[in-house]
Symmetry: C2
């Protein structure tokens, strides 16, 4: 048995969650429902204009790893924070959830701080994310511990990380070490505009290295530059062993080795959509690495996603294992 079921690599972030209305998004040029990269000045300016906020650990792959750890899975996370108060909060929350987190912190002298994501949550529960990457951007190959990668059944790579200067090298090093030890590689496309920024690099990685691809509808359409979801799904499924594509309230599609499943979403009131995709990946990866069928793993993904959107923040609040039991997924 390998030491880790899943090792995630991503942008380490603390989420700053604030309730706003649609007029606020308009007035401040925040595009709804997506992630926008912002610099420190813009981060300060936007923060000045939002109302009181809550701070909770976030980061897409970190949410996924926290979700798997919450389920009792053996996990580790690789991402860069600074040795500051937000960095402490981020590290605490992962470790408190039971995940290993050993990436060296950037020192307090570093100009950039721990990354933060100002998440504007509108009354419809949709989240519009404004990300100041901070030190998370500087995760490089030197932060990738090859022994840890070799000890992973799966590594899980966050598409957002393509935005960093050394991210390709870091990912390549992780993939090499993981594959050499017969581990497998999962990636999430993260965001349609992230796909647009790095389409070629994503395509190359999918063609060459990826075993399991996570995407949502907008991301996979952007990847294959089509409006036809079935076409995009078919093209992706040709290249990876497993494709898992979420489609909002319609649920998720899973394609693997010529088979296709549609998993309906669990009906829930959407309080805060932040983390839905991250927790879908957590449920699916946990199911998959715990010997469940792919279909059951997909159902676990949909249940975990519906749990995280019924409250503020992108980490589980209820006991996900209990929820799985309630749905007959013992």
């Amino acid at each position: 048995m390998k030491k880790y079921q899943v090792v995630g690599i991503g942008n380490a972030m603390v989420d700053v969650l604030a309730r706003v209305d649609d007029a606020f998004l308009e007035a401040h040029g925040v595009e709804k429902g997506i992630m926008q990269l912002i610099d420190r000045d813009r981060a300060v300016e936007l923060y000045e204009h939002v109302g009181p906020a809550q701070q909770v650990s976030g980061g897409s792959a970190a949410n996924t790893i926290a979700g798997i750890a919450h389920l009792g899975g053996r996990t580790a996370y690789v991402g860069k924070v600074r040795d500051d108060q937000l960095g402490e909060i981020f590290a605490h929350d992962l470790r408190a959830q039971g995940a290993a987190f050993e990436t060296p912190m950037a020192s307090r002298d570093t100009v950039q701080e721990t990354g933060r994501c100002l998440v504007c949550v509108t009354p419809d529960g949709e989240r519009s994310m404004n990300t100041y990457l901070g030190v998370s951007e500087f995760l490089g190959p030197e932060d990738i511990d090859e022994t840890m990668m070799a000890e992973a059944e799966w590594i899980y790579l966050e598409g957002y990380r393509f935005d960093g200067p050394d991210s390709h090298k870091a990912f390549a090093k992780a993939i090499r070490a993981c594959k050499a030890a017969e581990g497998r590689v999962a990636i999430t496309l993260s965001d349609p505009f992230c796909v647009e920024r790095h389409r070629d690099a994503f395509r190359r990685m999918i063609a060459e290295d990826v075993d399991l691809l996570f995407a949502n509808r907008a991301e996979i359409l952007s990847m294959y530059e089509t409006e036809d979801l079935d076409e995009a799904l078919a093209r992706a499924a040709e290249q990876v062993s497993i494709l898992a594509c979420t489609d909002g309230e319609k649920g998720a599609y899973i394609l693997s080795e010529g088979q296709r499943w549609h998993i309906p979403a669990q009906p829930t009131e959407v309080v805060d959509a932040t983390g839905a995709g991250d927790l879908f990946a957590a449920g699916l990866l946990w199911g998959l690495t715990s010997g469940r069928s792919l279909e059951d793993a997909g159902r676990m993904g949909c249940i975990a996603a519906s749990e995280v959107i019924d409250h503020i923040g992108a980490r589980p609040a209820a006991d996900l294992k209990n929820l799985f039991h309630q749905y007959g997924l013992a």
Copy 2:
């Protein structure tokens, strides 16, 4: 018209809210339902043992001021944070709510950080608070702006502040400046053990300076060293123009100039009791400084308290003015 309806002075805190069970409290020697002062080592140790947490601005008087500001009241807050990330969060949340906050921050070189309160929330909604005061302890007379105090209809003093080395001098300076301009003085006893630590100082201040006294049942019993609530209420009411004493799910008693009212509590599910007393004070002070009768102001206090305990954190989430309207308090 004075510039401020209420100026609050207190310990500036960021709350770190974590869900725990009663066994955790027992195992880690956390006394249930009260506030314990802890040093930095103990703060680090306890934090290491709790699960994932949420960070939200807190501080007792700051919660009250945020509540009044949320209602549209003219308010300011005086309290000490450091120029660090938690200090920024604290300052942001008050200002974003519309309160003035001008106390100079301690510089980044200060050894102590911005204060934090690790709030352990048990399944019954009760909160057990572990406070690392940090720089908030060092608020001194030099931080009291006499002009601001003179511009306040009311100053609102947090009993917890009696724990700081220079707090008595700071309070004395604030009271002098406020009274010289015909302002009035409210104080909250904050906590039964805080009362025990400073009973004589509280008594002196109540006898000499306090116009409006806030307390809960445990605090006022501790103050007068009796088990008889009516006796304690009567003794306090002799010394102040207005006494407002909360009594958990029984609601609140208000005594003034020989009259006595009982205001029933609004029935609510208690998710997190943090801030109930603070928001009671907010509702009452807002009503009082907006021309409402004392009884209506008390009802506003009970409504605001019931709103804040139905969610995690000690600041209002719903629109309190709407709630007042719903209850016929237009």
